[in-house]
Symmetry: C2
């Protein structure tokens, strides 16, 4: 049986973690990027479907390809971030199920069932996107997730000829708490959002 | 600047964490349940939209109401679990934005735009569901998330008269590693699912 993480870890993951809008001039290494994925990949998904795909945009060339599709308010901070992850979803995820779910013919549950493909891909791709944010934080990195971008433009630029579609973006680096960090907005209390039955 | 969590914590959150199918006979307290939500609520969502709603089903009466809608393979383990969270999504989430996002009239971005309401609710409700799983694990609890249930039935039973719809279920407790715990299935490697650009 395991115990709760210590308070500093709970702070780092949840309680004092923030969405950053500016970044310290400190590199994120390729090794750190690989580590983020290699933690996040172990988060649970339905039938181990694992539909998330990620492009970690780190080079100036890559950033220039992304720039035209960013909304105005997300442009500067994204161009400045050490890495921007394009969290995307592969709607052909079920082609990998013979490897990912070897106990049963799980591919046949999905093939041809577009409603199930879509709901499974969307739900589980987003779960994995959250695992990626938590994995980055658990490695001591900060995140700035964003939905404000031209999805069709990003898909044409980065995922042409595939069934992969962008889901959201996450800037990753070491957050600059002194620049454009707003006061934390309120959350819904337990009793506003939840109940014990 | 923060550091990576220690190896035991990374194991607990990701590397040795598993989806459990049987549960030790040890209670999960109401205080633990509230703590899970009070960590998870701080995970980031678009415009702080926070669309997740959760019913933590703990009583025998509550479990009996849930039972008819569980798929065959999920029934026994769910009835045995100390708590089953019905992770749900409120498609009227934007009514709370005057409180949750006080800097701007964010409610007006959504009201009447059903496509944006739906994509925002689905994406961010699932992100929050993943935060809930990671929060439970960070408190030393184990999870068993499931998609196999009758969503329309659960919605009629638990969310009638609202715009809340069930998303997925999560059994929560102390996992019994000796019963029905399968070998971990393979994951996609970094190079199969990701790239650095």
């Amino acid at each position: 049986m395991t115990s709760p993480l210590n308070d500093a870890s709970l702070d780092q993951l949840f309680l004092t973690a923030r969405t950053y809008n500016a970044w310290l001039p400190k590199d994120v290494t390729d090794e750190q990027i690989r580590r983020i994925y290699d933690l996040a990949k172990f988060g649970p998904t339905a039938a181990n479907s694992s539909p998330m795909r990620v492009v970690f945009v780190k080079s100036q060339d890559g950033k220039k390809r992304l720039e035209p599709y960013l909304s105005e308010g997300n442009r500067e901070k994204t161009m400045q971030a050490p890495v921007t992850a394009i969290v995307a979803t592969d709607f052909a995820f079920y082609e990998h199920l013979p490897k990912l779910f070897p106990h049963a013919d799980a591919r046949s549950w999905f093939a041809g069932n577009n409603a199930l493909i879509e709901s499974t891909a969307n739900r589980n791709g987003s779960l994995q996107g959250a695992y990626l944010i938590m994995a980055a934080r658990s490695l001591g990195l900060d995140c700035g997730p964003m939905s404000g971008f031209d999805q069709a433009g990003v898909d044409a630029e980065f995922f042409a000829g595939t069934q992969i579609k962008s889901n959201f973006l996450v800037n990753i680096g070491y957050g600059d708490a002194g620049t454009n960090l707003f006061a934390r907005s309120p959350r819904l209390s337990f009793d506003e959002a939840a109940q014990i039955l």
